[in-house]
Symmetry: C2
Amino acid sequence: MSTHRTGREVRLAARPQGWPTEETFDVVEVEVADPGPGQVLVRNLFMSVDPYMRGRMNDAKSYLPPFALDAAMEGGAVGEVIESNSPDHKVGDVVLHGLGWREYAVVDGKQARVVDPTAVPSLSVYLGVLGMTGLTAYAGLLDVAEFKAGDTVFVSGAAGAVGNEVGQIAKLKGAKRVIGSAGSAEKVKHLIDDLGFDAAFNYKDGPVAEQLAAAAPEGIDVYFDNVGGEHLEAAIESFNVHGRAAICGMISMYNSTEPSAAPRNLATVIGKRLTLRGMLVGDHARRMPDFIAEVGGWLREGKIKYREDVTDGLESTPEAFIGMLEGRNFGKQLVRVSPDPTLPGQ
Amino acid sequence: MSTHRTGREVRLAARPQGWPTEETFDVVEVEVADPGPGQVLVRNLFMSVDPYMRGRMNDAKSYLPPFALDAAMEGGAVGEVIESNSPDHKVGDVVLHGLGWREYAVVDGKQARVVDPTAVPSLSVYLGVLGMTGLTAYAGLLDVAEFKAGDTVFVSGAAGAVGNEVGQIAKLKGAKRVIGSAGSAEKVKHLIDDLGFDAAFNYKDGPVAEQLAAAAPEGIDVYFDNVGGEHLEAAIESFNVHGRAAICGMISMYNSTEPSAAPRNLATVIGKRLTLRGMLVGDHARRMPDFIAEVGGWLREGKIKYREDVTDGLESTPEAFIGMLEGRNFGKQLVRVSPDPTLPGQ
């Protein structure tokens, strides 16, 4: 049984050339459909905005289909089940699913994973430190870059959602030295003072290669790349032999209308026998149990810190997304779509 | 006991800017030293010229020290022991060692590996198909690129010493399809007609990306890179998900005075989860027994073919080296330093 209900959603109004703007999006009020057989109706509480979404705004063949024009965008969200036609869900369940960018979502039961709101300080962590963001950091560092204790690790975008967790996991796993780059003095200070990075620098202060060489006088063994471009070139320069890069993102290039020319020193991969390996977190779902056990434990013990940058209301989503691409956020960028003070863990 | 003896050697007379020329080298007659304790005196029979030597002609930090100015160059050679102060060598032994570019070499016994002249059709194969060249192909394909049966393999520089063996090993190991690129119609014909490549193209005939896409309509899984530049960019474009590149050489860039700008599509490594891995054969010495057993067996059975381009006389070495860099050779480029018709296997 359903009542007539409307809710807002954020649509892709135009494909951006270069940077997205407010005109890229439309916030529209729509009729909320009734859930069909096996489906649940979810009221979204938190949603995530992530760099990879920029790629899906282009009309280009990629690992995920492009977002459709004049339709709601998609992305990770946590919400409360308010109607259920699924045998695995009851009203009141809190679920993690992939239909963010809207206030209400009709989700197939199989795509809605029930999470425990009482096990976490905030439901938002299921979108960040204990969600796909965290799994990206965990699997990227341990499996893709084959980190081992004693390695010196460099992370770009280190104050970002993935980057800060990479650095913290590396420290907890016995890194010799962890170096981060970020885009402001405040973020650099946070990395060193709050998160235990051994060194950090503001990439806007000078050439990345020079700042990295100064921060890593004995070279680096692992590079976790969120940025691409000049950062990757600098990492190749600083790599010790048999260095390994997990290429997770190239945010420096997502809004570029020109193909990137860097790194110009790629021939160095031969002499140093480097490995550069691209990753998508979707390949690493089997590591979720290890990740939840290990990082969830650290989270409960207070050994891993996280920071969130939360804006309020669905209408704030375009600005939150653009700000995240520009690096204006400080911590995992989230939108509180619709708070519910009666639920624990918010 | 030694007799007074002189011999010629090829010295590095000047560090080339860009392409080496005849002026880069000096051929000089020198006094041959007596072998010291533990050393042997070797009369070189064959020597190898290889692309990696170009890198050592620059005064730049690399995985191998630069060649010294006004001193003899170095490189793989096969020769006959004519004096021995080493307990492991006797006069008449044929040895493989690293002091080519000269008619006579004084070699530490530990650096001179005795080989069997009766087990091979020519001693030269110890410098090519059954030597470091072949081990590069074997370990690069199987270990670095993690080839598995059913893969489609693309090899650049496919008519070259390493490239042709990569393609043949891939076929013998169950590749679905093997594609090669080379620099002349004659080489392309040889790859298909003589070596069993499924497809091949002349990279001078048009854009590599277009020719590769046409030759590999279902994409490639492994790329063995001898060339770099445009070829690597094309391979990234044609890769299927989880594709793997062994980066063995970037001959297109060795004589460049500018850093290379390619590949411009490096961000693709993320979406396709590609692995690009540099290699040096020196890391793979432990695979030598497997390689000798397997490829030596194929060689005896006539299942693997090889082609050599041999010039005569030490004085021909500079021209042979430059021609090899320009791709004028057809097959493994060697110099017959000093033939000995009394030895078998020549």
